[in-house]
């Protein structure tokens, strides 16, 4: 059962990496820069992924699931705020839609599903018997962890380029640090 929990956590981490990489692809290929609330949602995805990563790297712990669930709830609050900003007809939207929904709506659903997934994993009680271990993880766990670190680092660099050393404008039009 601990192996099953670890595999499912790895799956969750892969899902978070895929979501972040897709948003990154959209940003670069379509030239749509993320707004401040969009960036906060990305940061919350990273937080949720960190909890999964800790479970994969060290073994399952309640505090790791706490990191994932609290990050997901925070992300859901950010996404819900953005949905509410545009819920009144005529108030427009931010960015383009994917299969009829904007990215912040997809993010809201995603955060709900991540929180539900993490809560469901808590039912596997056998995973907590082993406890956390500080020993060296498997090559696969280490590789997945480094992929996550690279994705987070790419997001940090991108945000720094876009916003510079200040707050981001509500409708960013270019990379602040790349302006001449």
């Amino acid at each position: 059962m601990p192996a099953l929990a670890r595999s499912l956590n790895a799956l969750g981490l892969l899902g978070v990496c895929a979501a972040l990489l897709f948003a990154f692809y959209w940003q670069i290929a379509r030239g749509e820069l993320p707004c401040p609330l969009c960036l906060l949602q990305r940061a919350a995805f990273v937080g949720a992924g960190l909890g999964f990563m800790l479970n994969v790297r060290f073994g399952s712990s309640e505090s790791h699931y706490g990191v994932t669930i609290v990050s997901s709830l925070a992300g859901a609050a950010f996404a819900a705020r953005q949905v509410l900003l545009h819920i009144v007809p005529g108030t427009g939207s931010y960015g383009s839609a994917l299969y009829g929904w904007h990215f912040y709506t997809w993010a809201l659903v995603g955060f709900f599903l991540i929180a539900l997934f993490a809560a469901a994993l808590l039912f596997i009680e056998a995973q907590f018997v082993e406890g956390v271990r500080e020993s060296r993880p498997s090559v696969a766990a280490q590789g997945l962890g480094w992929l996550f670190v690279l994705v987070v680092l790419a997001n940090a660099v991108s945000t720094l380029l876009e916003c510079g050393f200040g707050p981001c404008p509500d409708n960013p039009t270019g990379y602040e640090l790349l302006r001449k």
Binding site: L39, V46, L50, A74, E134, Q142, W146, G166, P167
Partner: protein, 55 residues
Amino acid sequence: MLVLPMAVPFVVLVIAALAAILGFRRTSVWVWFIAAATMAYSFQGHITDPLKIAL
């Protein structure tokens, strides 16, 4: 009121992820707490400004 650079939560999260991958489990969780606090601080500006207009 102090305006936090938007990149701060990400920089803190990079530190948390690096701490985790290098084997510092507890440090990673504590750094995540700091990241969560920076996210909450950045969010509070966005939650109140448009609301004031709406009200």
